[in-house]
Structures are given as structure tokens and as C-alpha cells.
Assembly symmetry: C2
Homo-oligomer: 247 residues x 2
């Protein structure tokens, strides 16, 4: 019982931090970077951080810890599997829109693509995420996959899930850092430089710190053995191929 209370308190913290991340990334780009558009201008770029933080961090992290919520521990795992896969598909779609935003902006302004270390790590993260989703779908949702294959792949799937979140956070922090050095330069329209820590710098730095805190809470939830979904008694639900459990 104490474990469940501790879980829900940690989960509440995770939800609050996730909401703050989304609010802060929107606030930063809306209030300080001029807002949003889809016209090749700087406002087009502003969708990039919003979609990447919302998709690859907040939604992804929440989808990853879905099975840790005791509410989902009923006999029939299938609806939660579909929700897990569905949320991650939505997270993937948001990430692709976020990537389109930066590629479109670069192409419209003759800026090279994929040269910075941020972009190298980011694109590898998205590629890994794609592979993970396809592998997860083939293994855990296609009825033809044998249970032995599911049991064999599950630890790798769980481990990769955590690692992709770590890589997303690496990409976000390096990206926010890079953007602030680009945007906050002395004497450009009276803007204070990053080094003077104007309100925008504090806002975006705080966003970075809260993204890290959110990631750590998700990793804590994932790693805590006590909070794992109890498999005993639910085995037939765990490795049940799609449609075999009457749903």
C-alpha cells in the first residue's frame, strides 16, 4: 500500500513536470521568439522545440511508464498495450512534425541540415525510436509473433525505451543551449546577450532543468522494481497475441 502511495506521488510529480515542460516551451517560443507560423520564417522554426519536447520527451515519457500505473494492472493487458503503442505513435508523429519544422526552415533559408552534434544525436534518437516502435509493434502486437520471441525481446525493448528517453534529453538540452547562443546576441535589436541572463535565458534554462528533472523521474519510475507490473497471474495477458484474449 505504501508502495502504491509513493508511486502515485511520484507519478503526480511526473505529470506536473511534464505539464510545466510543455507550458514553458510554448511560453518561450510564443512570448520571446515571436510565436508560430508555417511559412519558412523564424516562426516556422519555433515549432521545432515545441514538438520535440512535447513528443519526444513528455508524451514519450508518459507512454513509457504506462504499465507502472497500478490502475492498468487488470487481467486484460491488451487495451493498455494499444494505448502504449498509440501514445508512442502520436509521440512519433509529433517528433516527425518537429523535424519537418526545422528541415523546412533550414531549406527555406539556405541553412545546411544535420551538421551540428545536436542534430547528429537528435537524428540518431529519432531513428532508434522508429526502429523501437516498429520492433515493438511486430513483437508485442502482431498475433503471429511467438511468445518465446516476446519474452526474449522484452528486456531489450524496456532498456531501449529508457535509453531513447536519455538520448532525447541529450538532444533537447544541446538544442536549447544552441538556440539561446544563436538568439541572444549583444546589440541585436537591443537584445541582451545570453551571458547577461535576460528573462528569456532564465525561462529557457529553467525549461532545460525541468526537462532533465522530468526525465529523471520517468527513469526512476521505470527502474524501481517495486513499481513493475506484477506478471504472476497475468502471464496469459502479457504475451497474448492481439485478438487472442477476447478483446
Amino acid at each position: 500500500m505504501r508502495g502504491i502511495v509513493a508511486f502515485y506521488l511520484t507519478y503526480l510529480l511526473c505529470l506536473i513536470l511534464g505539464i510545466i515542460c510543455v507550458a514553458l516551451v510554448v511560453h518561450w517560443n510564443y512570448s520571446y521568439r515571436g510565436g508560430f507560423a508555417w511559412d519558412g520564417s523564424a516562426k516556422h522554426f519555433n515549432w521545432h522545440p515545441v514538438f520535440m519536447v512535447t513528443g519526444m520527451v513528455v508524451l514519450y515519457g508518459n507512454a513509457a511508464i504506462l504499465y507502472r500505473i497500478p490502475l492498468t494492472w487488470g487481467h486484460n493487458k491488451l487495451p493498455w498495450k494499444l494505448l502504449h503503442a498509440g501514445l508512442l505513435l502520436l509521440s512519433f508523429i509529433l517528433s516527425v512534425i518537429g523535424l519537418c519544422a526545422v528541415f523546412n526552415y533550414h531549406n527555406a533559408n539556405n541553412i545546411s541540415n544535420l551538421y551540428s552534434l545536436h542534430s547528429w544525436v537528435g537524428i540518431c534518437t529519432t531513428a532508434l525510436f522508429t526502429a523501437q516502435w516498429v520492433m515493438g509493434f511486430s513483437t508485442f502486437l502482431l498475433p503471429c509473433t511467438p511468445m518465446s520471441a516476446r519474452a526474449f525481446i522484452k528486456p531489450t525493448h524496456v532498456w531501449m525505451g529508457g535509453i531513447i528517453l536519455v538520448l532525447s534529453i541529450v538532444s533537447c538540452i544541446s538544442g536549447i543551449n544552441e538556440k539561446l547562443f544563436f538568439a541572444l546576441k549583444e546589440n541585436t535589436n537591443g537584445t541582451l546577450p545570453y551571458s547577461a541572463l535576460p528573462p528569456e535565458a532564465i525561462t529557457a534554462n529553467a525549461l532545460g532543468v525541468i526537462i532533465v528533472a522530468f526525465g529523471l523521474v520517468v527513469l526512476k519510475i521505470l527502474s524501481n522494481q517495486i513499481w513493475q507490473r506484477p506478471e504472476t497471474g497475468y502471464e496469459e495477458g502479457v504475451y497474448q497475441p492481439l485478438g487472442y484474449d477476447g478483446s
Copy 2:
């Protein structure tokens, strides 16, 4: 037996990646950034990436996985505990020298300290590392700490150990990315911009990718249950206060 072979192959990969990290960060700063000095010049700054990557990533990662090496699984854990604490102390000292390098350089050139997101994450990482080392020493090496406290704190110590490595990698990637945007600007002494991916950019980006790969291998070694030090039969060595096991 297969587990041990797999471990040593992964460990070999970890050692090779670690050596490449150190070689690349030295090569980058020696061959492209003008080498090293301790005189407040740009060469003074160059020690920063070298000491942080060597201390907070490579040495730290190797110290973290020490107990996973089957060679260390003898009855007496104390010498390995001392080696673990000693390597981490060395890693901490190198990190402090690395921090001194950047603070000295900034102060000598009237550059603000601790304004970027990179610096915020980095300084929090070092603070956490300090707390972790002090807590680890007090808990696992001081003879007065009761075994119950050791058993209680151990999972948090192990988890924090992995998290500090993750934060070190976040700091390194954002730092390398930032440095390349600062250093590789068009028309500065004929330097090609970062976006043109000159040899220096490829070298430092590759360093970033290999730091991430090294970190993932260390996290894989730490997380693999099969490679954990077997505690059964060694319990008296595990929570033995310093000096109580005849060494």
C-alpha cells in the same frame, strides 16, 4: 560461462571506446584548438573538455562498472571498494581541475560564469557527484555505519551512479556543441563555419557520438542483471565495515 564471455567482450568495447574518447578529446584540442597552457588564454580553456571527458565520463564510467568484472568477485570486497572509491576520487579531482580551467579562463577574459544551460547542468552534475562520493564514503567505507543503513542506501547509490553518468553525457554533448558554434565561424582566420563540416567539426562531432556510445555501453553493463556481482556467499564481504574483514 557464455555470460562471462559476453561480459568481457562488452567490457573490452567499453575500454576501447573510453580510450578513443580520451584520444579524440586530446587530439581535437591539441591539433585544432592550439594545444594547452595554464595562462588564462584560449589554450587554458582547452583543458576543460579534456579533464571533463577524461574525469567525469571515461574514468567515472570505468569506476562505476568495477564490481561487474568477474575478476573482482573474490571473498574480500574491501580492496575493490577502495579501488572504486579511489578511482572516483581521481575522477572527481580531474573534474575539479577541468572546472578550474574554465572558471580561470572566464575570469581572465571577463566572461560571465554559469549562465548557459550547459553550465547549469554541468555544475549540478558535479554537485551531485560530490554528494554521491561523500555519501558513498560515509555509508560503505566508514566502519561505524550499520549494515542496515548500507543495505538501505545501496540501491539509491547504484541508481544515482548511473544518473550522474547520464548527466555528465548531457553536459559533454551540450558543451562540445556550444564550443563548435563558438570556434567555427565563417571568415575568422579563414576558418570554415561549423555548417560546412570542416575536419575539426567531424572530429569533435565524432567525439560526441563516441562519448554517447561509451555511456550506453556502461549503462548496459550496469543494468544487466546477469552481470551483477553475486552477493550470495559474499554477504560478509559486501556490508563489511572497513577493517572488519582482516584487511
